[in-house]
């Protein structure tokens, strides 16, 4: 399964090569050109039947993880998080260090040896360390030099009725959708952008969108899903099993209203489960793409992921299918729907007039 293959790869922000090489290989036969830009984005171009408009699809290849930042005298690694990771989940977790995927564990003081105040305290990441079985500083430095990237070690597992657990569902689900979308042909020029460094500030998308300068952009993501015990229903954000999640507003952008409505209509028309993301927390590449050049009509379609940014992100297979179906149906609809293209045309001509 494509998502299994994608989530087994390690690609912490700034170190996406493994993911990039895999995807390049997968899409090679389905596009006209593949360009790797200066920061490491893949820009896959598929010429349309009528190249009047440019549609950009975007998904980020990178995942949250860690980077080696020091070595102790006894051979333990000190590390810093890359991207937003909740300190609370770290003690006692397994990691893979560097290209050789060395087995490492994030240590913690055994419960037997903790004083009462220690039992009540959460360790900050700066006080944690990784054990790779090295016995001296020298050995640790040799095995895992400064700057080596570290990923969560977590297998892709199918469980329950319809659930999938893996690391990096955010945003390999998006990568998978883009790979599938490229197998179709459309009226417009399609630019499938697999971006880098989303988790450290939407860095790759900024460069990719500038180079593509699209008319419309769809960002395909994994997003927060908090429909779990101890959370009030109004804070659920998204609900697992309720289908593709459309963002109205988040921390980085207010999505294009017309485009969001269009996506919703396409979903309803095609019997694809769809929901609106209820909370405005989080953000993704759409924030950066929207503000590119003279501005881009942007929306995002997301797979709800419980326990996102942890080694055990959980999604429903049916939600993923909804996102994939909605994305491709929307692209097909854009291809066919004259009104939609006309509204784009208005925007484009307006842009040209201003330039003149």
């Amino acid at each position: 399964m494509l998502i299994k293959e994608l989530t087994d790869l390690n690609g912490v922000s700034g170190n996406e090569k493994e993911v990039r090489d895999f995807i390049k290989d997968k899409i090679n036969n389905f596009c006209d050109t593949i360009k790797i830009d200066s920061i490491g984005n893949i820009i896959a171009y598929k010429k349309g039947i009528n190249s009047k408009f440019k549609v950009m699809l975007s998904a980020h290849m990178d995942e949250v993880g860690f980077i080696v930042s020091g070595h102790t005298d006894k051979g333990f690694l000190k590390f810093k998080p890359v991207g937003g990771i909740d300190d609370r989940i770290l003690p006692g977790k397994r990691v893979l260090v560097g290209k050789k995927r060395l087995c490492g564990v994030i240590g913690s003081k055994p419960i037997h040896q903790q004083e009462k105040d220690e039992r009540e305290k959460i360790s900050k990441v700066k006080n944690l360390y990784i054990d790779i079985g090295a016995e001296s500083k020298d050995e640790a430095e040799k095995l895992a030099p400064l700057g080596e990237f570290i990923s969560f070690d977590s297998e892709f597992i199918e469980f329950g009725k319809n659930s999938i657990k893996a690391k990096a569902l955010d945003d390999r689900v998006g990568c998978a959708v883009l790979i599938e979308a490229l197998k179709n042909s459309f009226e417009f020029d399609l630019y499938a952008c697999f971006t880098v460094q989303e988790e450290v500030g939407l860095r790759g998308a900024q460069v990719a969108a500038y180079n593509v300068m699209p008319d419309v952009a769809l960002v395909i993501e994994g997003t927060t899903c908090a429909d779990v015990p101890n959370v009030e229903p109004y804070e659920y954000s998204t609900i697992q099993g309720n289908g593709a999640a459309l963002t109205i507003m988040d921390r980085t952008c207010i999505c294009d209203k017309e485009l969001v409505q269009f996506l919703h209509d396409v979903a309803v028309k095609n019997n694809i489960k769809v929901q609106y993301k209820q909370t405005t927390s989080g953000g993704n590449d759409s924030g950066q793409i929207q503000r590119t050049g003279t501005g881009v009509k942007t929306a995002s379609i997301s797979v709800p992921c419980r326990y996102i940014h942890s080694p055990v992100s959980v999604m429903s297979r049916s939600d993923y299918e909804s996102v994939e179906r909605l994305t491709i149906a929307a692209l097909n609809q854009m291809s066919k729907n004259k009104d939609f293209l006309k509204s784009l045309s208005k925007l484009t001509s307006g842009k040209e007039q201003l330039t003149k």
């Binding site: 909740d86 006692g92 055994p110 070690d153 469980f159 329950g160 015990p229 959370v231």
Partner: protein, 349 residues
Amino acid sequence: MNIIKNLEYLSELIGVAGFEENAAEKVAELFKDYCDTVKVDKFFNVICLKKGYNKSAKKLMITAHIDEIGFLVNSIDEKGFLGITNVGGIDSKILLAQEVIIHGRQDIIGIIGATPPHLLKPEDVGKPIKIRDLRVDTGFEGVELKKVVSIGDTVSFKSKFSIMNDLKASGKSFDNRASVACLLEILRYLREVNHENDIILVASTQEETTVVGVTTASYAIRPDAAIVIDTSHGDIPDLSKDYSSTPGKGPEISIGPNLHPKMVTKFFELGRENGISFQKMVEAGDTGTEAWATQVSASGIPTALLSIPIRYMHTAVETVNIEDIKYTARLVAEFAKMNSEELVEVLCL
């Protein structure tokens, strides 16, 4: 017989304290080839007898517990989340984002999720979650889940046995399956040895909760001396030297009121004479092991304690240095080779 393969096999057996039946059967199967008799008693202790050549000689008991920490299901909600309670001492702080296996009518996977940090109630910020507040995500709806899982079903850590930097391994329940692997290694060393005393190996149960396994086994066997093999804390940045030992430098031999002083001294001698690495650990009272119960079982049993240092005890990522299992096995085998006259001399205070 490969020690790493044995450790992998043993550590992956499921035997939450009080529910060791299946693990006990598997362990008994492993011991069969090396012993004269093997039986599983009513507490699921596996008791193996390796007869000495002299019927009227002494009885030496060697124990290592086979149970592991885990959980029991104590609630099932409509959305398919389970509540759990711990069996044995478990730090709730290692449980967020932990994978578990729920042993219902069939085994199913569970994920212990974490509430996103921005949705924590203000009074919960900065505080570790309590085990009773954890919820296990099963991916099933409540109705379906209840067909598979019942209150009281056991839950164990899901882990992946991994080799770490060649000589080390990491996985679950090395406390105390590393010591069970050591029992097998001892039997391998003793295979060709014509020893005088009866050697009785006990793979005992319920150490993590009430120590009832070894207590009852001790009464049943009434040995002349006992050696308990367990795990201890390996050195990590947050532990001081007098509370931890260095993995790779041999077992901890404990010193203190819980242990028979002359047995302890004998172990030091055997280590030095045979060039087997060991470390010393001072325990002022309760060693927190089966040695505490064994010492006062029946009419009193002289007891020694050897502990294999492991790091991150009671987590799903316990780590051990394989050499330490070998050092421990060699030391115990040397002790077991003593004839009854030598043993009586050691036991005489």
